[in-house]
Symmetry: C2
């Protein structure tokens, strides 16, 4: 459970994609350098937090100059491992699975979905944006022959752990889990969960707290525009 020396805290790691996203926006707007103060205002976190976060990776800022946007963008890209290519598959070709295959943002960022697997005969043989839906019986062979890095799991919760463990035993080391259950996997497998319902419940909690604090529900405020 102890972090080893080079290990970066989960909180920092979770913020990296956000830095990457903002720096990408700056690049697109042809902004070549930015101070931690300016970046702080854009990202709505403190400048000191930004400096602290980025120091984890060797502190790319220069006093009086700020950060070189392109350099920092490319460094974070490397740190995130986005300079490499990954093979993805989707397991479960239902609504969420199909939506993810259709999600063009992924392609723009170089994440390529190689195949979809399902048990439903009505889906098998279909293609979604050029990606074929195969029978789940073919998954083992496909995985073993195609060096699959990440499985996107959108299977029913009752099957999620079994599927994840099968995939792990065939060499898939990354699970992006949309099943509404915490999957148990071997130690040498990494998991990132997207528990949509949990996220919505968190929103309801915050909303409910807001309503209670401000007594919103008892009033209407049509004229407040």
């Amino acid at each position: 459970m102890e972090n080893n020396e080079k290990k970066i805290s989960t909180a920092v790691i979770n913020r990296l994609p956000r830095y990457y996203r903002y720096l990408g926006d700056l690049l697109e707007s042809d902004i070549t350098r930015i101070s931690s103060k300016e970046l702080s205002e854009k990202m709505n976190i403190t400048a000191s937090q930004i400096r602290q976060d980025l120091n984890n990776f060797g502190g790319f800022g220069q006093q009086g100059y700020g950060y070189n946007v392109e350099y920092l963008y490319n460094e974070i890209k490397k740190i995130l491992g986005l300079d490499k290519e990954y093979n993805l598959i989707v397991v479960g070709g239902g609504n969420i699975g199909q939506a993810l295959v259709n999600y063009t943002s992924f392609e723009k960022r170089g994440f390529v979905i190689k195949a979809v697997f399902d048990v439903n005969p009505r889906l098998i043989g279909m293609t979604i944006r050029g990606v074929e839906v195969y029978d789940v019986d073919y998954m083992e062979e496909f995985v073993k022959n195609n060096d699959v890095d990440v499985a996107i799991l959108t299977v029913p919760r009752s099957q999620a752990s079994k599927v994840a463990n099968d995939l792990a035993s065939w060499g898939v080391k990354g699970m992006w889990n949309f099943s509404h259950v915490d999957i148990q996997v071997p130690d040498d497998v990494v998991v990132e969960n997207v528990h949509l319902t949990d996220s919505l419940m968190t929103l309801f909690y915050k909303l409910n707290e807001l309503y209670e604090n401000e007594d919103f529900k008892s009033e209407t405020s049509d004229d407040e525009e």
Copy 2:
């Protein structure tokens, strides 16, 4: 920025849906009570963390007895505000928007999507699982007449902040944001982000770290099953 006295930390709030999920599973399996130790093993967090978390809400455990599952489930349900009904709309009837309307887990939990809004004439007039897709021009009227609590935003990033602010000015206080951008909203509006690409990047980071540590990419390990 200071927390007020009754405020519970974000970390605890973010764990609550998970407790709720596990307790719901226990209820379904007709388990009526559970010790923090047993719950700890199931949830893979320490028993002391569980006790600490649940103490935030008055400590429902009893020494030698453990937690009453149904009672705790219902208390967390109330804390999350899930004993109330919320009106939801989806703004953006594309892939993710449609998948969310089709996502039956929401209905089972009593989250009801009332309408979908889009600009695309090909989508307007369609129904998705009985939910109508309206022209976005009709959104203001609909929102004002239907006491909408939460807008699920799946619009392009360039439009997300404008849409969120329009909705906020019409009285929508909760934004579940799937747009790949951090939206700026008034202080009396709560936001929960689902940045899918950020989540996937975090997974790539972890995967890359794993590969580097274990030199996986340089070897194949077909015979390790």
